[in-house]
């Protein structure tokens, strides 16, 4: 039982028996992002990506309008996001939900979107099994397994890592990412000697004791997952301060540790880092160059999009696709149906929503940090085309069924 503002218009319409095509609808989209606090920069990235898409493609909605109702989820804990989602569904009666930087925020909200029957387009939150939590979840960002799993094989085969340790921020995507790496690495023949939880996502810890433990264990590779944002700079700094590179240990991880917005502040210490990811602002494709150029024109020459910004852009493209295909009248099952198998030419490359899992399928690239003039740049040294989430493909752990 849901009443929406355009419901009245619909009733009037039925009385006057006008053709449905002429009805201009305002689609209400609830946006749940970290707008304040330590993760505000992540929310801002996604927000900017969304708004840039609306600005450039707004006319494609025809007579329909889109209204964004923004709510601040502040921190990774899930509690504030859940309250926000509840209010958006019951009070604001939104047609769609989107945003979600942190996995726990998406997980806590999943039961609500199932009950409220509101489609949810996830723009970051990468824990593999999140789309399984509700039939109304679609993800346009990534899954931790898309990077961790191939990285395991690549580290063993191409980086000459026979032994490895992993360190992770202690919350669901961290555990997921190192589980993916472990599976990929051990399957290739490597030996994972240690796996270390390294504090919470909320505050950046002093990584020294954890990294020192790894340094003393002397593995060939050290796989690190930390959430996007401020943790990554501290990871690269601690790694350099402890002289781990000189001790013969290679730092690897998903691309979160070489996020475009953080890369320049890492300095020389980041050169040579190898990560696995789906996006960098340095990609040389025409689509990405146009995207980055538009971004800088809109938000300033010293800004750059990163993988979260591009997810905001792509997520909004997905929402536009839903609005157009449903002609402004959003019905949850129809919206999900419209997104199954949806293809889009993203700045990151071609993407597809897997019809079975409602999760993203995309190219995954091997990134290497190189010095280019006086700035650091991401060089693509290899590409794995159209990767489906390996966790669900292999039916492992919580991804089973």
């Amino acid at each position: 039982m849901k009443f929406r503002t355009y419901g009245y218009a619909g009733a009037l319409l039925a009385l006057s028996s006008l053709p449905a095509e002429t009805l201009a609808a305002t689609v209400r989209v609830g946006v749940v992002l970290t707008y304040t606090g330590g993760a505000a920069q992540l929310g801002q990235q996604i927000d900017r990506g969304m708004n840039l898409y609306i600005k450039q493609h707004g006319s494609e909605l025809g007579e329909h309008n889109i209204e964004l109702i923004k709510r601040d989820s502040k921190r990774p804990g899930g509690d504030i996001a859940k309250t926000a989602v509840q209010e958006l569904i019951t009070r604001d009666q939104v047609d769609l939900l989107t945003g979600f930087v942190f996995s726990p925020n998406a997980m806590a909200s999943a039961p609500l979107v199932t009950r409220g029957q509101v489609p949810m387009v996830i723009m970051n939150a990468g824990t593999a099994w999140i789309p399984s939590l509700s039939p109304y979840i679609v993800r346009v960002s990534f899954t931790m397994w898309q990077f961790g799993h191939p990285m395991g094989g690549y580290a063993y085969d191409s980086l000459d890592c026979k032994s490895a340790a992993s360190g992770y921020t202690d919350y669901p995507p961290g555990k997921d990412s190192v589980a993916a790496f472990k599976h990929g690495f051990e399957r290739a023949g490597g030996e994972l000697v240690d796996s270390i939880p390294m504090g919470s996502p909320r505050e950046v810890p002093d990584f020294t004791p954890f990294f020192q433990r790894v340094k003393d264990a002397k593995p060939d590779c050290f796989y690190v997952f930390v959430p996007g944002g401020n943790h990554s700079t501290a990871v690269v700094k601690t790694f350099a301060d402890l002289g781990m590179k000189q001790a013969g240990i290679r730092l690897i991880g998903p691309g979160d540790i070489t996020q475009d917005t953080k890369l320049q502040s890492m300095g020389e210490d980041a050169v040579g880092l190898v990560t696995m990811h789906h996006y960098s602002a340095d990609y040389e494709t025409p689509e990405n160059k146009a995207f980055v150029q538009a971004w800088k024109a809109e938000y300033g020459a010293d800004t750059t999009p990163d993988f979260m910004g591009v997810a905001g852009w792509d997520g909004m493209a997905a929402i536009f696709h839903v609005i157009r295909s449903q002609n402004g009248k959003i019905d949850a099952d129809g919206a999900i149906q419209a997104l199954r198998g949806w293809k889009f030419n993203s700045p990151r490359g071609p993407i597809l929503i897997d019809p079975d899992t409602r999760d993203i399928v995309q190219d995954v690239h091997i990134h290497k940090v190189v010095k280019s003039g006086d700035r650091l740049a991401i060089q693509v040294v290899g590409t794995i085309p159209q990767v489906k989430d390996p966790c669900k493909a292999l039916s492992l752990g919580k991804c089973a069924n």
């Binding site: 954890f210 433990r213 002289g243």
Partner: protein, 291 residues
Amino acid sequence: MSEFLNVVISIVFDGLAYAMILFIISVGLSVTMGLMGFVNLAHGVFAMAGGYATVAIMSQLGIGFLPALLCAGVAIGVASLVLEQTLYAPLYKAGELDQLLLSIGLVFMASGAFTYFFGPDPISVQIPDYLHGQIDLGVRSFPTYRVFMIAVGIAMALGLWISLERTLIGARIRAAVDNRPMAEAVGINVNRLFKLTFALGSGIAAIGGGLAIDILGLTPNFAIQYLVLFLIVVAVGGLGTIRGTFVAALALGIIDNAGKYLWPEGGAFFIYAVAIAILLWRPSGLFGRTD
């Protein structure tokens, strides 16, 4: 065996560096609480302000890290006197709850104010090149900055200890901590003494805040994030004692590091367990007076 030794050295060394930060920031809190009995939860704000002041002074005046640290220490020390005069002094006779509310309010206001002026992201500090990298101390190499941190901490502890034990002002402070009415009766101006130690403690905390940036990072949440830790150090060490604060910082710093190194799954469990155990054994802290 050498591997075992290596682990011990790792733990003790990093623990020492961490302990020195705890000591430098907490020592002022211990002495002022011992002297005035004022529950000042906002003490960490001075450390945080010192960190931001160091970075601001470096970029505005274009001077190096070490001179900027000293300037920040003096500036925050003087600024803290203004706060003391206007906000703290009226509440000296008030109950602990009022003092607690005032000072925790200051913490939240400071957090908001620093977010407004400096943004929510961590800021970093340009430390001089000679403090970068690794230094070989014979047995093995250590991060240079942490060696420097340990040296500064020990020098500061010695300096404070000597001035408290061997100077006239130090004798007056000890007298006032021991028995305030008696000290006042023999003509010691405890209020003026308190202002002096308050400013000194805040200034030292500010220097600690500046020194801590490269190790703990610095965000507008600093004063909240580490508040509990500073209070634990003071409580475990005992109020009004430099030696107690030093020993408590050492013990807690090294134990926290050992816990994270040996049993990372345990998180911050160790430091709290040890604090509780010590306080059960000695409710007034290791070196606190039990009268």
